[in-house]
């Protein structure tokens, strides 16, 4: 297998393991970009999604915004921001956040909105205040779906953060872009493997987090 040989060569080369262009450093950069972008996207998407989901208002506007945001090409946005703003973290963050907000926003909204009405009505009948209903009744039930939205956003961020290398930033995309220009497929395949593994690890982390955070009563399957 061609690809497997490439992977083996890449990872067994000790030159790839230290220094500025080493795997740990690039991995750290990549994780850093992804985490910042996910945090910003969650800070935007979760509150808005929770509130609109709770009140049930603004769903149409939300769907429109999400469609529009999804239509924006992240790669194009990255280059545009790079041309406009120059080198820096901001041009990378904008497309990644734009990419990640729609899934978080829409799934959070859907998750809260589709919570069964009976418990919510019961809570309201018991005299719970609206914030308490949201956080103590709706949120726990909606949590599995909210997690799935965050998860798909995180995976997309991790795999899209590779394009940051195209505008001369770091991250694991560096290996892919550099390898492409140097016709060094070993590097390309190695970088791709790293990103894919990182995405899978993200998947696993979210699975574990959902497992830990979701109460057993509302767990699905």
């Amino acid at each position: 297998m061609n690809v497997l040989n490439f992977i083996n060569d890449f990872f067994s080369d000790s030159a790839h393991w230290h220094g500025y262009d080493g795997i740990p450093h690039r991995l750290l950069e990549h994780v850093q970009y992804s985490l910042i972008a996910l945090a910003i996207a969650a800070a935007i998407g979760l509150p808005v999604g929770l509130i609109t989901g709770h009140t049930g208002r603004g769903g149409t506007a939300l769907a429109l915004i999400a469609t529009a945001a999804r239509a924006l090409p992240s790669f194009g946005l990255l280059v545009l921001m790079f041309v406009l703003l120059g080198l820096g973290l901001l041009p990378v963050m904008i497309p990644l956040v734009v990419l990640a907000v729609p899934p978080i926003l829409v799934t959070t909204y859907e998750a809260v909105r589709t919570v069964e009405p009976a418990p919510v009505d019961a809570a309201r009948g018991m005299g719970m205040t609206e914030p308490r209903i949201l956080f103590q009744v709706e949120l726990p039930v909606a949590l599995p779906l909210i997690f799935s939205g965050l998860r798909s956003a995180a995976i997309q961020i991790v795999s899209t953060a590779t394009i940051a290398a195209y505008v001369s930033l770091g991250g694991l995309g560096r290996y892919i872009v550099d390898g492409l220009y140097q016709r060094n497929y070993e590097k390309v395949v190695g970088g791709a493997t790293l990103v894919a593994v990182l995405a899978l690890v993200t998947l696993g982390l979210f699975w574990a987090a959902a497992r830990a955070a979701v109460s057993p009563g509302v767990r699905r399957s």
């Binding site: 090409p73 790669f75 946005l77 545009l80 790079f82 009976a118 590779t162 970088g191 995405a199």
Partner: protein, 258 residues
């Protein structure tokens, strides 16, 4: 706006030419994905045990970044359009298979029984009962697949001149002409929105029986904080349902095996 649509000569295309190229590179993969996803989805509906592994494989494939996918494929298919199209087809497969499975599974058992009682064979039942009922879910999947496909074509720029509208981005960087980047982003976004709207229209044409505000705008009806349990929206009931029968269906199988 003067010269906004002037495309650098090294692209050897007009603005409209680039759009045509972009659409071709974005839509053929989605069609290929659909052609592949329909039998896979049907198989997953028939053989329940097949669905989780298929879902796993597609999720893993989805985790591979498009950029890496493109570059690795160069080794096999060269710097050609095929190299751009294969990953896009795979990505649309990831979206379409669950959409089809959810859609087909959402067909009520009574409806199927009625169709069987009317003498529908399996093929006719699939084509005339299951598929039409699955259309809303299918189109919802198609919308996501098409929009992401359109925006991902631009990444093809990285592997030579295969990004259609994305090529403008490379030129915007080389010549530092911001207008080109703006042109590329705006055109791509508008293209995606237009195709999305066309798909919504297609759903309305294909499901004339559905209430006017189903799908994306169905939420508009649910004003106020009272949730109406009486009229759940279509996709909403689709979601939880597959899980329940899957578990119930699995239990007897285990029992008979013992």
């Amino acid at each position: 706006m003067n010269g906004f649509f002037d495309i650098p000569s090294d692209l050897q295309h007009s603005w409209l030419g680039l759009i045509g190229l972009h659409l071709r590179e974005a839509l053929i993969p989605v069609l290929a994905g659909l052609v592949l996803a329909l039998p896979i989805g049907q198989l997953c509906v028939r053989l329940r045990w097949l669905y989780p592994p298929v879902l796993w494989v597609t999720t893993v494939l989805y985790a591979v970044p498009s950029l890496a996918f493109f570059v690795v494929l160069i080794d096999y298919t060269g710097q050609s359009e095929t190299t751009v199209m294969i990953p896009l087809a795979v990505y649309s497969l990831v979206v379409l298979v669950p959409a089809i499975v959810d859609g087909v599974r959402s067909v009520p058992q009574e409806t199927l029984a009625a169709a069987t009682a009317m003498g529908f064979g399996p093929v006719r039942r699939y084509l005339q009962v299951q598929l039409p009922i699955a259309v809303p879910a299918l189109i919802a999947g198609l919308r996501i697949a098409t929009v992401s496909s359109i925006s991902l074509v631009s990444v093809g720029t990285l592997i030579g001149n295969q990004g259609a509208l994305g090529n403008l981005l490379a030129d915007a960087m080389f010549y530092h002409r911001t207008a080109l980047a703006v042109n590329s982003v705006v055109t791509t976004a508008v293209l995606a929105i237009v195709i999305d709207a066309l798909l919504v229209l297609l759903r309305k044409v294909l499901t004339p029986w559905a209430p006017p505000s189903s799908g994306g705008t169905r939420t508009a009806r649910r004003g106020g904080r009272r949730r109406l349990p009486g009229r759940p929206a279509q996709e909403q009931t689709v979601r939880p349902e597959p899980a329940a029968p899957a578990v119930q269906g699995a239990a007897p199988v285990k029992d008979t095996a013992r």
